[in-house]
Amino acid sequence: MRPKLGVPIVLATVVGLALLVPRFGGDYYVHVFALVFTNVILAASLRPSLTCGQLNIGHSAFMSIGAYTSALLAKNLAVPFEISLVCGALLAAAVGLAIGYPSLRLRGVYFAMVTVAFVEVIRLIAQLWVSLTRGMSGLSGIPKPSILGMTLTTRASQYYLVLGLTLVILLVLWKLEHSRLGLIWKSIGLGDNLAQSLGVDIARHKLLAFMLGCFFAGTAGAFYAHFIRFLFPPEFGFLMATNILVYNYVGGRGHFVGPVVGATFLSLLSEPFRGSPYETIFFSIAMLLTILFLPGGLITLPRKLAELRWWRTASSPTPSPAA
């Protein structure tokens, strides 16, 4: 394991680099990294639900709810950004409650099916409720984000906003994961019958994990709406939902940083393919390679390499035929 001092140093370096992006990168990189952070929020907020053993493939729907809610409130009713963002997140959590409550008894693939169906339902609503969402012509003219009445006009200022949001959300999620609540979530994922016999109210805790994820997905969606300023229903479809899941698995399920690493790595690498049919192929290949060579995800890569090196030196005097 890494020495204790290493963690703060790595953390400070990463945050420091992130702060420097607008200084040295152009608007393009600022744009790309702002979307990377949105994906980090989405991936990390799916983790509690996954830890409880719920295969949740519905995250994009909740992002969509947050995005449309915040965009419509700001555009039609001139609601300030901070308030519309919170409204979007709250509505996503409320819908999460409505969907989560009846499907709590479902496990594994059955729960996954409900969430997938829900993604389609939300996409269709956004597509067909033309009078509200403009349907397939897309919702445009969304105001830029603002803080305390000050509009964030530059890309850089919006970048710092999402960076701040991401750090706060990651801190909250990290604290929760290392609290007793996190231990309970883990216990439900490891053996829900056993957790139940110890007196854990598993239904309530699963629902809480699910709703928490919905809330932060809604937050990410609300930022996204005011950043891109154009919403198009098919964007929040099945593909995005599976991508969020893939971030978690490619990054690694074993540690809190897994989804953060996965989301950053894959969003940067898939940037050239964004929006093209190759995007799906890219994510499929990434997932397959991970399953084959790094079942523990990218976060296990350093250990894997160390093992390889050890194996090579250990076996060098008498080369063994084993591969």
Binding site: R180, S187, D201
Partner: protein, 233 residues
Amino acid sequence: MLEVENLWVRYGTVEAVKGVSFSVPAGSIVSLIGANGAGKTTSLRALTGLVKPGAGELRFGSTSLVGLAPHQVVGLGIAHVPEGRRLFPKMTVLENLTMGAYRRSRADVASTLIMVYEHFPILKERGRQLAGSLSGGEQQMLAIARALMSRPKLLLLDEPSMGLSPIMTAEVGKIIRQINALDVSIILVEQNAMLALTLAQYGYVLQTGQLVMQGKAQDLLRDEGVKKAYLGL
């Protein structure tokens, strides 16, 4: 303290428990013995709400347990050590213990932990180790210790001697006596009838879901039928 009257449980079309009644006086150890499939484990699972009884009355003090969810039953002060230990092998010993006390406040947990460590010093030593890396006997100790973390009034022990060496079995027996001395009533389900009847004050013999015999533990130990069928004498 606990009254079970005419309990029926079925899994699909199979009737696992057919009209069993027993009672546990406060402060006592009562054991349910019988062969595989006699309905011992199912009776415990009905008590804790993990399976729904088809019929019957379960009363803990003055509260009916019928229809309660498992977490509500634990809240009343009944802790269950399930068959085969059933720890979280990928959690540390300390995390497993914390899970046992999950319904209680932080300060409470700390004081209970001190009490539990007094009885199980080995667990204090192994606190940061993964539960899956403990020996069989230590795992059983951890399972019992975890149940104690909820400060139960009634402890349900399902086959605590399963898979343990004779020395470890004796050790578990000693622990069960110690726990009982803390004023915790115990239901002990065992295939090892000798262990069960030497520890208990009262015993019930189950066979294919029915109660076939009951009596004081010493009397059962001397009974020719019990000797032949369960003690191998």
